[in-house]
């Protein structure tokens, strides 16, 4: 029985990959996936990969890239390559925590409001819409300025920006799913309201969230880097791409390009990875898009 289900699982994974690689957009998704895996492995095994400590000077300040310092050193003598590696940790941790909080608040809220509707719906939707009106980074800056730096605080201020996205997607889906006949027939066999919400409605609306989720992680990384760039994020000397980018750009004028270049490339690559992956998933879960092209 167990073996059988394993085979089914592997068959499913292989058919998933086959579908994914079937056309050019599949290759894009696969490429995004590879980028993500590299960054995630980098974050997990950072101490093993990084040649030096990211928070201690390891050479002369402002050394250009060479065989000892692959990406050079910064104005404090820190190894840019080590900070590049360790920076992935901060970016991914904050992005994941923020996305978890946003999904953890937005999804249940959308579920409950979408199901019960009425005046509650009007009030919560109004609040969510007013949050949604703010440009993401501006709102995150405002909240971060109040809360102060720190992993949790930064995650929170990013999460607040994205709660409405989840809320809106889930609420509208639930509002239509609750009128499906299978929900009524669940009632007719005597199922409880909570069972109906979590067993009948939630699983039917969840697929639409997966794409939002991977898109949001990319967005959250950008916002995090933006906050750190503005000095509202992680306190130095903890390695962080946004902060390193801000620090490095002061030295661009003296042609010490490597300090700003590598953190910038890291941010671009990881966001690109998530976006490509999300786009691929979107086409996989939503066959209508594929047909249109």
């Amino acid at each position: 029985m167990v073996k059988n289900s394993n085979q089914m699982m592997s068959a499913r994974i292989s058919s998933f990959l086959k579908d994914l690689l079937g056309d050019s957009s599949g290759i894009m998704a696969a490429l995004g996936f590879v980028i993500l895996i590299i960054f995630i492995l980098m974050a997990i095994f950072a101490p093993l990969i990084a040649p030096y400590s990211p928070v201690q000077p390891s050479g002369n300040p402002l050394t250009a890239p060479n065989w000892h310092h692959l990406m050079g050193t910064d104005n404090m003598g820190y190894d840019v390559f080590s900070r590049f590696i360790f920076g992935s940790r901060m970016a991914l941790i904050i992005a994941f925590i923020a996305t978890l909080i946003a999904a953890g608040v937005g999804i249940p809220l959308g579920l409950i409001v979408g199901y019960f509707g009425g005046p509650l719906d009007r009030i919560i939707t109004m609040i969510m819409d007013s949050v949604y009106t703010f440009p993401g980074l501006i709102l995150a800056i405002a909240i971060a300025a109040v809360l102060g730096p720190g992993i949790i605080n930064i995650s929170l201020s990013i999460a607040v920006v994205y709660i409405p996205t989840y809320y809106r997607v889930i609420r509208s889906q639930v509002a239509s799913a609750k009128n499906e006949l299978y929900v009524e027939s669940a009632y007719s066999i005597g199922a409880k309201t909570s069972t109906i919400i979590f067993k009948y409605i939630l699983p039917n609306v969840l697929p639409s969230i997966i794409v939002v989720l991977s898109m949001n992680i990319a967005d959250a990384i950008m916002t995090e880097a933006g906050l750190s760039f503005l000095g509202l994020g992680i306190t130095p000397p903890t390695p962080d791409w946004g902060y390193d980018l801000a620090n490095g750009q002061q030295f661009l004028i003296s042609n010490d390009w490597w300090m700003a270049f590598f953190p910038g490339v890291a941010i671009i690559l990881i966001v690109l990875g998530f976006s490509m992956f999300a786009e691929g998933l979107n086409e996989y879960f939503n066959p209508n898009i594929g047909e249109k092209r």
Partner: protein, 317 residues
């Protein structure tokens, strides 16, 4: 004694622009092991009536009267006790089998859900046993418990829905247009399944439909509804052979008959009244060929004529 007894039932939908009187003063009994057909045009309150028996109407519906199941008034029960009656004492099957099963749950899990609601301590092999028996009784291979709804055809899904409804041996099964979405051959099969179940499980069926043929085949007594009113109720053969209410008569005349050379399709002119502002007097008088003055003024009383119930001024005060 009647299993299900409905007394003076009124149902109103409260909407912004007023109240829609969907069901007005309807009373009937369903005897043990009997099948009662409810027929009428679309929008005459058939489905509202059926859904009201399970108390599954939307919140803006106001119900007054009595719905007695074995002498217990369902309208007085609290939500929790009502929930436990659904699926166990009264079950319902719906019009569209294609969407009435949760697409992401195996058929098995639909049954498990039902059993766990009514008996939280039930063992898994016991659940599989009851579910298999239920599926077998509607002619579906019990092996298919592990399949997902999309792996079934429409007719098979309706069988699964019926199996789900009868698994806990309810006393009353409400079938709300169970064959409307199916083709004629499958209709016939489903009707056979329902007939067999009635015989073997000692169950009463309330069959809601607008298909006079299905009622003729299935039901022992028929209730004809028009604009929320029960206009005629009687034994099937008597009612079909000698309809008393003008509406019943015209409804039966409008069934196409292939034996006649008459190529014109008969129909009832006009359409059912707006239930927000129903006409004063008899609801049917604007379409009735026998309209008298009194029809326009007063609503006829429900009378008993020859063991039949009829609501029309033709049969006296």
């Amino acid at each position: 004694m009647a299993v299900l007894s409905i007394k003076n039932l009124f149902i109103e939908y409260q909407i912004k622009s007023g109240a829609v009187k969907a069901v007005e003063d309807v009373s009937f009994d369903v005897e043990e092991n009997e099948s009662l057909g409810i027929v009428g045009e679309s929008g005459c309150g058939k489905s509202t009536l059926g859904t009201a028996i399970l108390r599954l109407l939307p919140q803006n519906a106001k119900i007054t009267g009595e719905i007695l199941l074995n002498g217990v008034n369902l309208l007085e029960l609290d939500n929790e006790s009502m929930r436990k009656i659904r699926g166990k004492d009264i079950a319902m099957i719906f019009q569209d089998p294609m969407t009435s099963l949760n697409p992401i749950m195996r058929v098995r899990d639909h049954f498990f859900e039902l059993f766990k609601v009514h008996n939280p301590d039930i063992k898994k092999n016991e659940m599989i046993k009851i579910a298999s028996e239920a599926l077998e009784s509607v002619g579906v291979d019990p092996k298919r418990l592990n399949n997902y709804p999309f792996e079934f055809s429409g007719g098979m899904r309706q069988r699964v829905m019926i199996a789900l409804a009868i698994a806990l041996k309810p006393k009353v099964l409400i079938a709300d247009e169970p064959t409307t979405a199916l083709d004629v051959v499958v209709q016939e099969q489903i009707m056979q399944v329902l007939k067999n179940l009635m015989k073997t499980k000692n169950m009463s069926i309330v069959l809601i439909t607008h298909d006079m043929g299905i009622v003729a085949e299935m039901a022992e007594r028929v209730a004809v509804m028009y604009a929320g009113n029960l206009v005629e109720l009687g034994a099937i053969h008597k009612l079909y052979n000698k309809p008393m209410h003008p509406y019943t008569r015209m409804l039966l005349e409008s069934i196409p008959n292939i034996k006649l050379d008459d190529m014109d399709l008969k129909f009832i002119p006009g359409s059912p009244p707006d239930l927000k502002n129903p006409p004063r007097g008899c609801k049917y008088y604007p379409r009735c060929p026998f309209t008298k003055d009194i029809c326009k003024k007063n609503d006829p009383k429900t009378k008993k004529v020859d063991s039949r119930i009829v609501k029309c001024w033709i049969y006296g005060e």
